[in-house]
Symmetry: C2
Subunit: 372 residues, 2 copies
Amino acid sequence: MSQFSFQLEATDPETGARAGTWTTPHGPVQTPAFMPVGTLGTVKGLLPDQLRDAGAQMVLANTYHLALRPGSEVVRELGGLHRFMDWDGPILTDSGGFQVFSLAKLRKMDDEKAVFRSHIDGSLLELSPERAVQIQEDLGADCIMCLDECPPANDVPEKIRAAVDRTTLWAKRCRDAQKRDDQALFGINQGGIDEGMRTRSAEALVPLDFPGYAVGGLSVGEAPADMYRTLDFTVHQLPEHKPRYLMGVGRPVDILEAVCRGIDLFDCVMPTRNGRNAMAFTSSGPVRLRNAVHIRDESPLDPECDCIACTRYSRGYLRHLFAAKEMLGGILVSLHNIRFYQKLVHDLRIAVKSGTVAQFRANQLARWNAQP
Amino acid sequence: MSQFSFQLEATDPETGARAGTWTTPHGPVQTPAFMPVGTLGTVKGLLPDQLRDAGAQMVLANTYHLALRPGSEVVRELGGLHRFMDWDGPILTDSGGFQVFSLAKLRKMDDEKAVFRSHIDGSLLELSPERAVQIQEDLGADCIMCLDECPPANDVPEKIRAAVDRTTLWAKRCRDAQKRDDQALFGINQGGIDEGMRTRSAEALVPLDFPGYAVGGLSVGEAPADMYRTLDFTVHQLPEHKPRYLMGVGRPVDILEAVCRGIDLFDCVMPTRNGRNAMAFTSSGPVRLRNAVHIRDESPLDPECDCIACTRYSRGYLRHLFAAKEMLGGILVSLHNIRFYQKLVHDLRIAVKSGTVAQFRANQLARWNAQP
């Protein structure tokens, strides 16, 4: 595990926002950091050079999807995920559990394992903590995740408690199953939006001494205010000198608010998924490029952005691409949205280091016309 | 028209293959040249920098498609096609006639004009020679085309003759309608695969002194041998010191054979359309990347190619992208195929200049395992 280290460089005393550098076998990640999502070993429509140019330092890939197609052994035989997808920077894989619960047809789950049917071909598959680690060792990401149980936001308290306890049990088994020493295995805090449950989870996981901790089970249907409140009472229970990762979050405002509660790492499909659907995040709020108002609009998507979409094309052209169902529309706006997210976390990092977090947060919220 | 000039640099005495430089208001084009097709103002899935990196010097856009979406006036208002699609090199637009006959529902055609229904929304539209020029002046390409009538390959002789004569009539009207002096308007030779008809067309068009000539009405269903034979008796009837453009052609072997008959310019959707469908042109022949044989294949798509797809990825990864319906598959193989076409015309140019055309042609045919 000596190939990993997390150096905290600054912490905002008022909010707890942090700036740091997380060193991995594939290079450093300056935090707070946002990971574009490359579900199947490709951030949809974008080349690695384009991601790097947009400021991305680390990407995420999905274990469940890659285990189904092309299979983790195939990825291993083709040189592992870095070689496979030509990304030589750090990579994180999730455990696959989230998709087993959300996407596959779950057949049976007990403390031993989950049994489910593939959403591709209906074949019967299993995922246990040991198998989740084995698959992730085949894939070879820098950062891998313990298998967890992620209940719906509105689940009853006894189900939340059971998920917390099973997640703890599985975390131990994942830790014991790990063979490679060049992958950081993160524990995942669960517990819904209940302070007692989150505390129960943290108190069980922190002694296991994982090199980093994720907060799971948020952004699964609860109100943003509930998510922020949950972070308020959860984050400070995680080790200060280890990276903290908020899984699957979120909107720009969510990232802003979560950084201001001490989170270091993020991933979300929103910049690319929304980009493919003609929705752009801009410095003055969301822009929907399918709207007819843009047909003859010569102005750039976001005059404050330095990406290709904003510096080389008009809103009229981007609108045309979506109206004509041209691939380049989704490509350009995905690229822009990733650039927007990267700039946001970069600016937050600068704000933490310069002691201007509160001011930055207020300015951003005012500009986006959003309230947390 | 002083912004255009065509300098013949070498002609192969045996085959008539030529190497030249065609100067346009947006820069020179070294011939023989292949134009990637950007139907709606975008070569599907690719950015202009990627096209340039692949060696493309000039691109084609389709008048019919752009006239329907977003409309030629919109393109003009957004700064013209170069600004619109961020391609500052030379652009060629077709007249729109080919799609009116092939894609739209043609309602009526006489010597005056074609009346047709849009394939998008069924609206009733007209295309006359004057309108075709006006639309192309709005779009603002460097090279524009006369409206022609392109009959099917198997049409009866009287229909072919009528199309030749209407094409001549329309060529005169296009020439008279032209207002801009910074666009090269090409005449289009028609006449099916009949020597008499091709001669009739050439003898009528050449005196009109267009700055370049296209050969239309080929690659519309006739056998390759018929196309090559038609070029044999057509090309030498076109002016020697003007560029010659074979519209919509074709396979690599077609380009090789047509260059060896004195053609300078080409366009075809094949590299991009086939690329999106997982078919790659390689130095040893076509490769179908969906085939299961590639699942665990670590080798590059084409070891002789210097494109991103070939230098950074395995066949196994490319196969995975298509199996998983990921956009990046079509992007990478389109890029590769365009690079393959650009290298082909570049190598032909070198062969003409070095007097090795016959040898190059024999080598290529042997490698592709193809016979003309």
